[in-house]
Assembly symmetry: C2
Homo-oligomer: 276 residues x 2
């Protein structure tokens, strides 16, 4: 491996202006970023995630309101109240949510959809716009590639995974950068053959250490979006130890895409106030 | 070639219920499909297209209002008026349009966006919904493949062209059918190599007779979205005569995707009233 793609360095670069940007917002617009996170009790892992958001917000002087409902009805009530509060500049839902509740995402006012998960945000992105809110994980992949000056033009990029929050939103961003893209998933038949031809591979399937050295070509660039747990240890979709000699560059897990994703959520929160 | 993919047969199958569907709408909802087409004078080819829509609407008893403005201001005025008319169930813009005007597309009420070209329609499609209005040309490709019972699951499909009206909207529709997709375009470096591995190729780049037999594998299925003119004769992006022995199936031009596209516009016009 020639290059360890360190999420920390990318994140540092994004967050270095947070303080100044928030200060400017207060001075010029008399606005403070203020995010509301809505959830339902139950999922422990996702509660941990919410706590981390709260902590991150606190760090940068962003107001944060967490509303965890006991049931769906309470969630709906909370959402109604939050929508009416003008001082709240960003709204996000803790995932996963029951389907009925999840559909409320499209009722988040477009300018407050800081996760970029509504139909409208997704549509804007697919129409080629990158100034709207973009799902943070997909954007983190692009930020890492951009930071390390990896030219995507004409490159064969294989995205493994077709989720609405990673695989799909990556497509327009990669097309904007003139990459040739292949999207693989669980129904792909000849995935090893396809991976072998890729200049860049983006793994987002949630299968621990799936990608091995015999599946990649010499000098490939590998981005690992996966977060899996193996014997209590966090591992990605890439078998880092196995591929590290053959690949040109790899993102580690932890320390790769995840850190950048967290910082980009804060970035989206600030940006959406800047764009008001 | 084993199979000529005839657009006419697919179109016949779609339009056979038009009359009954329109009758039902009148009886059950007291609604008549009524489409408004807004344009600006200038582009002759696009005017011909508008005339064809008018004729098609007439054939099926769909009301159609054509408003061709002399300039941008008049267009904006026309659009304002049309938006206020409750009896109009579908609105479409004649393309191409100046950028300032083209952006008004997002002000078409979602349920009247019969071409599926707004950010919101595109977003819904990318989130996996196929019950909303879908850009007709992209849907025509799918209708042809469906009609001829071509299974897409796990197939390697190469889409050549990344436009907002064909290449991009094809992506979610093909993903919904479990295909593995590669999107190529003008910046793709090794297009011949990529095409050679495709089970199905969808050409949408507007280059007359670009695809030759040496670029495809034996038995490939070829869909031609291209409409080009060579010495006054309409030809596709595929060199039909050259590939016809080697391919398993091909859509002709004319007589392929185009006919189905025209019928799907009528289908979208009727469907959007059914969904009201």
């Amino acid at each position: 491996m020639e290059l360890l793609l360190e999420g920390k360095r990318v994140a540092e670069n994004i967050k270095k202006n947070f303080e100044a940007r928030i200060k400017t917002l207060k001075q010029q617009k008399n606005k403070t970023p203020y995010v509301a996170v809505l959830g339902i009790t139950g999922d422990e892992a996702s509660l941990t995630y919410v706590k981390r958001i709260e902590k991150n917000c606190e760090k940068y002087g962003i107001q944060c309101m967490i509303k965890i409902a006991q049931n769906q009805e309470e969630f709906i009530q909370n959402f109604k109240q939050i929508k009416q509060k003008k001082e709240i500049t960003g709204i996000m839902f803790q995932q996963p949510l029951p389907k009925k509740i999840a559909e409320l995402i499209n009722q988040i006012p477009p300018e407050k959809d800081i996760e970029g998960v509504s139909d409208l945000s997704m549509g804007k992105l697919f129409m080629g716009q990158e100034n709207s809110n973009i799902p943070c994980t997909s954007k983190a992949v692009i930020e890492i590639l951009d930071f390390y000056k990896i030219d995507l033009r004409g490159k064969n990029i294989v995205v493994v995974g077709r989720s609405n929050v990673v695989g799909k939103p990556l497509i327009p961003q990669l097309l904007n950068r003139d990459a040739t893209i292949t999207i693989c998933h669980s129904k792909t038949k000849n995935i090893k053959e396809i991976l072998k031809q890729a200049d860049i591979i983006i793994m987002a399937i949630g299968k621990a250490k799936f990608l091995k050295k015999e599946m990649i070509k010499q000098g490939a660039i590998l981005i690992d979006v996966g977060i899996n747990f193996e014997e209590g240890k966090m591992v990605g979709d890439i078998d880092f130890e196995d591929v590290k000699e053959k690949a040109f560059a790899v993102t580690p897990v932890p320390g790769g895409v995840g850190i950048v994703t967290n910082i980009l959520l804060i970035d989206n929160i600030i940006t959406s106030v800047e764009q008001l």
